[in-house]
Amino acid sequence: MKVEAILNTPPMWEPDRNTTGGVVVGSIVRMVRNLPGHPFPGWSTAESRAEVADKVIPAIKNIRGFKSAFTAEMTSLSYGERRALLTRKQLTPCMAARQDGCYVLIPRSRPLVFMVNEEEHLVVHHFQNGLDFDSGLDALFQLDSLLQQELKFAYQGQHGYLTSIPSEAGDALQLYCLLHLPGLTCANMMNQVTKALEKLHVSISPYFSDSQDDTGHLYVLFSIPGPEESTDELKDSFLHVISHIVRREQQVRDKLQADPGLYLHDAISRAYGLLTNCRRLSIKELRDAVSLLRLGTLQGIIRWQENERDMLIALNHFCLEQATLTAQAEEKGDPLLCIRRAAAARLFLNNHPHQFSDTLA
């Protein structure tokens, strides 16, 4: 399988409309395992990484359904391909920077990514739509059992599964959540939320880049495991924090919508105007505008001919597809990219008939 086949598959994020009002877009569970007797990848030689890969990759491929998984050594992926996979969360920033002896495996049939010799010998990410960590945890526990039939993982009674960072040893499972927070972003409250979360050992970062100015209102929330904290405790406290953020985001959305100065309607109409009329469109402009269209859809300000769920997925896919194209094209320095991006936005809106709610009329 070629990397194009992976990049042409639509990313699966689908907002959880029923339980979180579309605020939670996806959930990721990360599992980390290491082999005894080998240095961790950050401290190893190319030979040592090759030895680890020779043990781990066959063990993964022996699992039913994973034999034909896309497999690539990092050196065989171009800068643009790495950036595109990074945008889709199919690589971590650490893995994207890796070289010899480091491999990524992506099965097409399952929402999983295996990274061999990332910061640890084996890192597995499981992706799930909406807010659902249980599916990911179940899938990874099963996978762990299957892998342990062929591999012995480094484990010590006192610490649990051993990792390169001692504070992460234990169950060696971590939870991430993807959030769409246009309300809190537009109300300039993200800085306060970030500081408040730090005190609860939860970190939040923009989904697409490191810059707080280019977020597309999408964020990744990460619960930092505390010492001797079990996965169940971690999950419960994380879900608690997420529910607070969801409630706060919904309150702010409703408050903005009720603003007699038509703040929200104006912002969404401007975003719509930009997407339908501009001839050059930067990726940041596109991300912010599509985010506001999603918000308009969720708040009933824009009504589409298709059902709401399909449209929310389509908007997500369009945004991530453009981000993927941008990541690939920047390597080639394409001067016409922003013109093509504007044309793609006009075409997208033409292909999805819609109208604004009566409030605007």
Binding site: N34, L35, P36, G37, H38, P39, F40, G42, W43, S44, A154, Q156, G157, Q158, H159, L162, S164, I165, P166, S167, A169, Q192, V193, K195, A196, L197, E198, K199, L200, H201, S237, H240, V241, H244, R248
Partner: protein, 158 residues
């Protein structure tokens, strides 16, 4: 830093030094206000837990305490200074080699049970040298006996 908690009219007060407050993530007063405002329930749970830890003597010394340890891992060569600088370890065996650095309260006997023989031998030999250097011959004799007892096992494992 002073932390005052009032629960059902009962006041508990804690005084923390700067290093401990930083280690517990309680140094930035502005962030504390945000946390209390945005996540009141979570924040209360965290403060409750912290108060319990501190009042029930679960408090541990902030990192940096110098302990008797191997200076580097005989398996991967990673040094204790590397760990202090980066917060990372070099290989799974480093957990045994730097056990006292990772958990200053760990009982040495417990650590030794989990150490592989070559790692344990290397550590005992280093401790023997240190004991001889400070003229602690009683400790040195005990270490020598331990090393002699372990040596046949090391040859068998090798």
């Amino acid at each position: 830093m002073f932390l005052t908690q009032i629960v059902n009219g009962q006041v508990s007060e804690l005084a923390l030094c700067e290093a401990c407050a930083r280690a517990k993530g309680l140094f930035d007063p502005q962030s504390l206000t945000f946390a209390e405002k945005f996540f009141p329930e979570e924040f209360k749970n965290r403060v409750d837990k912290l108060v319990r830890e501190l009042t029930q003597g679960e408090h541990t010394q902030p990192a940096g305490k110098q302990l008797e340890n191997l200076e580097s891992c005989p398996v991967c060569g990673f040094g204790i200074e590397d760990y202090r600088r980066t917060g990372h370890l070099g290989c799974p065996d480093c957990y045994s080699v730097f056990a006292r650095e990772l958990d200053p309260t760990a009982e040495p006997e417990q650590e030794e049970k989990e150490e592989s023989t070559p790692v344990l031998l290397a550590r005992l030999q280093q401790e023997l040298q240190q004991a001889v250097a400070r003229e602690d011959y009683e400790r040195a004799a005990r270490l020598r006996d331990q090393i002699n007892a372990l040596s046949p096992r090391a040859r068998n494992e090798g």
